[in-house]
Amino acid sequence: MRHLAVLIGVLWLAGCQTAPIAPMTGAQGAAGLTAEERRLWHSAQELDQQMVNADYLYEDAALQAYVAGIMRKLYPEYADTIRVRILDSPSLNAFALPNGSIYINTGMLARLDNEAQLATVLAHEGVHFTRKHSWQQQRNVKSSTAFSTGFGVVTGIPLLGDLVAISSMYGFSKDLEREADVDGFERLRAAGYDVSQAPVTFEYLLAEVDALDIDEPYFFSTHPRLQERIQSFSQLVRQSGGANRYRGEQPYREQLEKLQLELLQDYLELGQYQSVLLILERDDAFTRYPPSARFYLGEAYRLRGEEGDSERAANAYQAALRLAPAFAPTYRALGLHYMKSDRPEQAESFFRRYLELRPDAPDKGYIELYRSSLRKN
């Protein structure tokens, strides 16, 4: 992330200013900013371009439009300035850049339950931009040595990169985050969302961070930071009376269904079976996921490989087979399961069916190899 380092570097060099920082106004864009602020803005634009160059963005026009629409509801006067981008990454993360680019990871999107929860995250991040928190963060840094040493130890990345990355991705000071909570909450309420979902968003993320023992240094993956958000939003809900309004569960499910299934596959490909188990062992999991998702549950058990997991995996595969008989990967999984269980006839039967359903399967070579070996034995 070379541009990220540059971005932090600009922040760093700009850190000695003392004049008050005016918040952004709706249609302002880069016009009206100080020279240093403009440099920062352009560095953020370079980072945006780098994300595109490296194919880091998740390409789904309908989902992109849906998320952008939520942002417009929250920040109507910034419709031409704030742009939400979806990062193709399973990590729990969302962050704002000082040019109005707000990034949310596919991993974060897939873990939320409804539109109100997503709006909570977007509203919070939007404030970091409108209130120019990147700048304020730098002004509050009194001792560069203490600052860099402290975070350098945590992140293990070079000094300049630390400053930038912490400012944009790893969270701001407690006061600035609290300001983002308060202003973001007001945006959420004004847009008509069910504000009771605000603390639930972070409770849910916190449960996942704790259960998976996630140690990513990202703001949304950090236990104390999430705990602060829960307390902060709970207090705001109590003060507001917690009016029950729009949650947007159904549209969220419809928009996210494809991504959520892709994420399950992604977790398995990354060996993160714990994430799959956490999602699919929830009581209501299969009201939110299609029947074929039971295949992913079986794969997660297989990868975990604890005592009894082989049987759990087989049961999950069989359930997927019953409920989604046209879903080819289940046949492959059962073929491998029976092959390893020394039941060659069943294995051959499932492998054959798999290739009937997917004659051009990308792993056809392996399946043919295994069938050949079954016949020899």
């Binding site: 992330m1 070379r2 780098q50 160059n53 490296a54 194919d55 880091y56 998740y58 990062l87 193709d88 990454s89 399973p90 990590s91 992604d266 490909e269 990354l270 060996g271 491998l336 990308p362 792993d363 070579g365 392996y366 190899l369 295994y370």
Partner: protein, 184 residues
Amino acid sequence: MPYKLLMMLLVGMLAGCAANWVRIDSADTQYRGAHYHVSLPAGWVRFEKDDTVLLSRDGPDLQRILIEYRAHDKGFENLKRTSSPGMLPSELADLTIAEIRATAEQKLPSLEVLSNAPVEIGGQTGFALHLRFKTEEGLRMELLIRGFVDERGFYLLTYRAPTLHYFKRDRPVFESVATSFRAS
């Protein structure tokens, strides 16, 4: 481990260990390590450490061949998983892809699996992967990976080069190295 080891090797080189890079002479192309032996390409340079060999012709950023032996308990260190003698080639291939993604920034969303198929390597059945991804700078890179397990450990041969010009040009060298590979 491959990533960490590779980084160690590259850092070592940049830190002034250039003397450890050895030009491969046409009269001395055979490498015999503790766990495998292989023919190396004459005219390239090699860097050796702990039965791992790094090869290049024009520099590791332009093309590199990495040959490794990993004990089973160090099969997939970034995933915190081991390999085992009974692993199927498709399982090894899947874990190898996961290991690559686990070491990369943002989990390498641009990674494409162009092919994934079983292959014979020195008389052992293993996997052959052809992968492609884009670097942060937008440069398209390609990888060829061959691997297999036996009772002792996990053997891995990796070729990486930019798609532009180098990958295709030096691919036959990798194929030749992989063909000559034998577990000892």
